[in-house]
Symmetry: C2
Subunit: 194 residues, 2 copies
DNA sequence: TGTACATCAGTGAACGCGCGTTCACTGATGTAC
DNA sequence: TGTACATCAGTGAACGCGCGTTCACTGATGTAC
């Protein structure tokens, strides 16, 4: 075990930072603590990141990648032959995946959302756009309701996740929350339906 | 000027903490800084608050009071004789007031939202409920769409405010943002309309 | 193939800082007789 | 009305802590000849 030339110090630092962010949030991502966990001197990280903020941006990206993965995992479970119904289910599972991840990883999700530029959210947004386009093609949603639908969907699930996650509705039981989410998603669907 | 018996040290500490929270957020609300600003020794605050968290809760309440005031101020500007249209405008101005405050005071708003219990949000929620009930009475919204409308409205504006405030859409211009908000509120209205 | 040497990736120690909170205290206030 | 005394609301000093970052350095690696 050579103390020098760690192999992938940069990668290990990010991994440790993600775990710290997952449990303690952005404030918990502390340079000296990372160094301790990885077993390296406190300043070694500065070989790989210009400063703390640089590292935090990296953590943010990792979080968005997890968000995207959670959404895809949800979509992959859909068993449905009918195209119209399939397109509807895709939309819904995207919403559930988004909220599910945001609630499961509240702190890490916040790190991502507060540092990400719109550009870094390209992938999740593209998925939403694709799902909405598919819904339009199958005739599930109305052409006149299509413009601006991304924002309406996004704001609804984002708001829901934060109200029930770190916001004033955080004391609700998980059961009630899940019921409320289903009702909200029903509503969103109905507002787009043709 | 007597150094003892400040008169209203508790009140002044809260006021200073609110201003600090307004500009720097929760992390910027620092006991020693407050003492400095108010001109008192660092431990004097402990006569009035059991610890920092106790003070932060007070700041949170103050923020929610401001939110409520912002919503009321907006509603008070409505000039409209027709009851149905009036009820519609109330709903809309509540939404605009909510988003307007959340965007104008992003950090303070966050302090409030992250510490408030549902109970402390009674007033803003009651306003929303009252506006929705009024819309129902005037026939602006459909009775079948009434149940759960609070959450749909709240999630939409809350999500919007955070996406455009500290979230990934924070780089949008104010003009674009205001346009997007109007379109979102149109959508919400249409989803409730009878 | 062997080796000199540039470069890379770490170390060790320190700087300067500010924090929340507690302890033992003292000056000011108000109240009972 | 005057005064003893309990209580309240501050002070001053310190504890113990951890942080981000920089400086000058050294051990390990890889490459050109």
């Amino acid at each position: 075990v050579s103390p020098y030339h760690h192999g992938d110090l940069r990668g290990e630092l990010i991994r440790a930072a993600v775990e710290l962010g997952r449990t303690k949030g952005a404030e918990g991502i502390v340079m000296r603590e990372l160094a301790r966990q990885v077993g390296v001197s406190p300043n070694a990280a500065y070989r790989h990141f210009s400063d703390r903020d640089d590292l935090l941006r990296e953590v943010g990206s990792a979080s968005l990648a997890e968000l995207s993965a959670a959404m895809h995992a949800r979509m992959a479970t859909i068993q449905e032959a009918d195209p119209k119904e399939f397109s509807r289910r895709c939309l819904r599972e995207i919403g559930k995946g988004y909220v599910g991840y945001a609630l499961a990883e509240q702190r890490l999700f916040a790190v991502g959302m507060e540092r990400a530029s719109l550009h870094e959210l390209n992938e999740p947004i593209r998925d939403l756009t694709a799902a909405l386009d598919a819904c339009l093609e199958t005739g599930f949603i109305d052409a006149t309701k299509r413009p601006g639908a991304e924002l309406a969907c996004w704001a609804a699930v984002h708001g829901f996740a934060l109200l029930y996650g770190t916001g004033p509705l955080r004391m609700m039981t998980a059961e009630q929350r899940d019921i409320d989410l289903d009702l909200l998603l029903d509503r969103v669907e109905n507002s787009l339906r043709s």
